[in-house]
């Protein structure tokens, strides 16, 4: 059916029919909550829709609901996600598999409602699983898979689904959907961790029959260990995600994995990136291949946990790598994705040239011509054997 990215998210969540959806409107996320509230108004879901007074309360409400054993969903963007920042850490530390769609948007100031990734990159260290979508189909599929990934017994973490603001959120595409029953059967019932509480073994939730104290004061004697449990859970997600994906592929015929390599086998230059730009990148790869340029691309579907091994494996032997960042990490050696890719490659025997291309901030278009010029610049670096500039701000007026 024809759906834009926001509608694809809302439709998937409708089919999942979670217990609680708490949300606050912010462009370009608004369509998600608008559509969902229509489903509620028409009785198509029996979700409790909580129209909260802020994003901070949206996520806080989801924390309360998920701790009480409910499936909880919210959606936000940009400053909304920034306002949730405090609670993003709490949701993951309390091991609550909340699902949140983020229609990625630039952060103020200056105020800008268009796409870049500075919002989600600000939340990258908060312990959430991050799925990045290239198109509406991926948004739909991720909004179904996310529940199973987050609720996986070895994981139990919140999941953020990123879709580029306007580029995906407001663009109509054909999306293949599954029947409601198939989705219902796939997500099943929520699973809980078993924990040892002060009143014996219990499901990890707020249960009047088996009381637990969730979110206590953790002094230096335990805090560190609890943080390491989050580290472990994210590591385990690297195995859980492909396992859930495998199951999902049997239902849908669509398979995603952690990363999506494109024409990398004999590539001499390759771009790594996240989100909708990668569709353009792969289109440009095809064009360059026709011109005889050995170009390739690597789309990261999962940014957290960072699929380091899969990424290294996929690009091994490629002499020049360009990393596309749609966010700035002010004062840092480069963009957030660039730094991670470079760190991952440091231990490699043969280290490629790595150039950072920061592009598309605040919704600036990244057309095929721009991507082509990035490949060209990367190829120059390959031929010269070094990059003239470590960080290139691509598509900026001189």
């Amino acid at each position: 059916m024809g759906l834009n990215g926001d509608e694809a998210a809302a439709y998937a969540v409708k089919q999942v029919n979670p217990d609680v959806v708490a949300a606050y409107p912010i462009t370009p996320q608004t369509i998600i909550v608008e559509r969902f509230s229509e489903y509620v108004a028409d009785g198509l879901v029996d979700t409790e829709f909580v129209s909260v007074e802020s994003e901070h309360s949206a996520l806080s409400c989801c924390v309360g609901a998920a701790a009480a054993g409910a499936r909880a969903f919210t959606a936000t963007a940009a400053n909304g996600l920034a306002l949730m920042w405090e609670i993003t850490y709490i949701a993951s530390a309390l091991r609550l598999p909340i699902v949140m769609a983020v229609a990625n948007r630039a952060l103020s100031a200056p105020i800008n409602i268009h796409n870049d990734h500075s919002d989600a990159m600000g939340a990258r260290d908060s312990g959430w699983i991050q799925i990045w979508c290239e198109n509406s189909q991926e948004v739909y599929d991720a909004c179904i898979e996310a529940w199973r990934i987050g609720e996986h017994p070895e994981v139990q973490l919140p999941v953020m689904i990123n879709l580029d603001g306007f580029t995906l959120s407001h663009t109509l595409e054909n999306v293949l959907t599954l029947p409601d029953e198939t989705v219902q059967e796939f997500v099943g019932e929520r699973e809980f961790m078993r924990v040892k509480g002060h009143m014996g073994e219990a499901d990890f939730r707020l249960d009047p029959e088996r009381p637990l104290t969730i979110g206590p004061l953790d002094l230096p004697d335990f805090y560190f260990e609890h943080k390491l449990q989050q580290v472990e859970a994210l590591k385990k997600a690297l195995r859980a995600i492909p396992a859930v994906d495998e199951e999902y592929s049997k239902l849908s015929g669509r398979r995603y994995e952690l990363i999506h390599p494109y024409r990398l086998e004999d590539a001499e230059i390759a771009l790594i990136g996240l989100g909708s730009t990668m569709g353009t990148v792969m289109h440009v790869v095809d064009e360059l291949r026709e011109e005889g340029v050995k170009a390739g691309a690597l789309k990261l579907r999962i940014f957290r946990p960072f699929p380091e091994e899969a990424l290294k494996e996929a690009i091994r032997g490629i002499p020049a790598i360009g990393v596309l960042d749609r966010a700035i990490s002010f004062g840092a050696p480069g963009g957030p994705l660039y730094e991670e890719v470079k760190t991952a490659l440091y231990e490699e025997d043969e280290r490629p040239i790595v150039v950072n291309y920061i592009h598309g901030l605040g919704g600036r278009d990244s057309p095929p011509d721009l991507i082509k010029s990035i490949y060209k610049s990367l190829d120059h670096a390959r031929i010269r054997g070094r990059a003239m500039e470590k960080v290139v701000y691509a598509g900026v007026r001189g």
């Binding site: 217990d19 609680v20 708490a22 029996d46 979700t47 409790e48 909580v50 129209s51 909260v52 007074e53 802020s54 901070h56 309360s57 806080s60 409400c61 989801c62 924390v63 309360g64 609901a65 998920a66 701790a67 009480a68 054993g69 409910a70 909880a72 405090e86 609670i87 709490i90 309390l94 019932e189 002060h198 009143m199 499901d203 939730r205 707020l206 249960d207 009047p208 029959e209 088996r210 009381p211 637990l212 104290t213 969730i214 979110g215 206590p216 004061l217 953790d218 002094l219 335990f222």
Partner: protein, 325 residues
């Protein structure tokens, strides 16, 4: 409405167990224990960041004999909204772990900082949406957990670490924020004030709060021996004096035909009936170190007088609201 007797309450197990690390003389555990005696059955509690939270849940220990969650400082009302929404959804669907409970008492505890200041937005939002939960403001009139800094609930002229009594400025310069008026303006079904000096009153009001269909607000005065600078054994005396001087009168308020109806509770009603029994605020102020600068080295009659006038004015307004003016 079912009345709860002291006898019944005394037979119920404490849901906030002994062994917590709140200070000697702290009124918070007294009030919380009394309120939790009044729950009707399955109950889930949430607590904002503050003394009550940190002193009762030092991992791996806990004093809570009921399911309890701490989320953050400013979002107790939003967390409670989520718990209530989860229960409501599961009831409607007829599945999910909370679906079997016909009633679920959801209670949120937050201090004055988490209510008057940083948590006011989340509280207002939850009240406006009409979630069926009980919000308990445990008001010790400053940020005691962080070291006695002033809050919107700190009374005029009180000394705190951020409103120190100096040679130019004598303590806090602003009057206590009228939180109850703000809350009641949301047209919630039930609101009341509590003092640990009157346990039966606490039990009755807590039960009414839990039974109310929609949000209920309980405002408890919880004297803090550290922050208010009085000996720990004087907590109940201070709590009682707050009521007897009408600094913190006891009343309850519910909606009738959409309008708030106020009724004074017995201890304050007694003062209303015998105005000569109303004690001067000086009695309340002079036993607390946070007001010491009003009495020495030089007596500040001007400030004491303006506090008395403020208290009298608020008291008159309350009498009018209760139809006794």
């Amino acid at each position: 409405m079912s009345e709860l007797t002291l006898r019944e309450a005394s037979r119920k197990p404490d849901l906030l167990a002994p062994g917590h690390r709140l200070c000697a003389g702290c009124a918070e555990p007294m009030v919380v224990r009394m309120i939790l005696k009044a729950v009707r059955g399955p109950t889930i509690a949430t607590t904002a960041t503050g003394c009550l939270e940190v002193a009762t849940t030092i991992f791996p220990y806990t004093a809570w004999n009921l399911p309890w969650i701490h989320n953050a400082f400013e979002n107790a009302a939003a967390t409670a909204s989520g718990i209530e929404a989860a229960w409501r959804a599961m009831r409607r669907k007829g599945r999910g772990p909370l679906s079997k409970y016909e009633t679920l008492d959801v209670v949120a505890f937050a201090g004055d900082g988490g209510t008057y200041d940083i948590g006011l937005q989340a509280l207002s939002g939850a009240l406006e949406r009409g979630h069926d939960f009980t919000y308990v403001l445990i008001d010790n009139e400053a940020y005691m957990n962080t070291g006695i800094q002033r809050s919107g609930g700190t009374p005029y002229a009180a000394e705190t670490t951020t409103s120190p009594a100096g040679s130019v400025i004598p303590g806090k310069r602003e009057w206590k924020k009228p939180i109850e008026d703000i809350v009641i303006a949301h047209r919630i079904p039930y609101a009341a004030t509590l003092s640990p000096a009157y346990p039966l009153d606490v039990l009755r009001k807590a039960r009414r709060a839990f039974e109310a269909d929609g949000p209920a607000f309980l405002h408890a005065i919880v004297p803090c021996s550290r922050g208010w600078r009085f000996p720990p054994e004087k907590t109940i005396m201070v709590s009682r004096l707050a009521v007897q001087t009408c600094v913190f009168p006891l009343w309850e308020c519910w909606l009738e035909k959409g309008r708030p109806v106020y009724r004074l509770s017995a201890p304050s009603e007694a003062v209303a009936k015998r105005p000569e029994s109303k004690k001067p605020v000086e009695e309340y102020l002079s036993i607390q170190g946070r007001f010491r600068h009003l009495f020495q080295p030089k007596r500040r009659d001007d400030i004491i007088k303006s506090i008395q006038e403020w208290v009298d004015e608020r008291w008159m307004q309350l009498l009018e609201k209760a139809g006794l003016g």
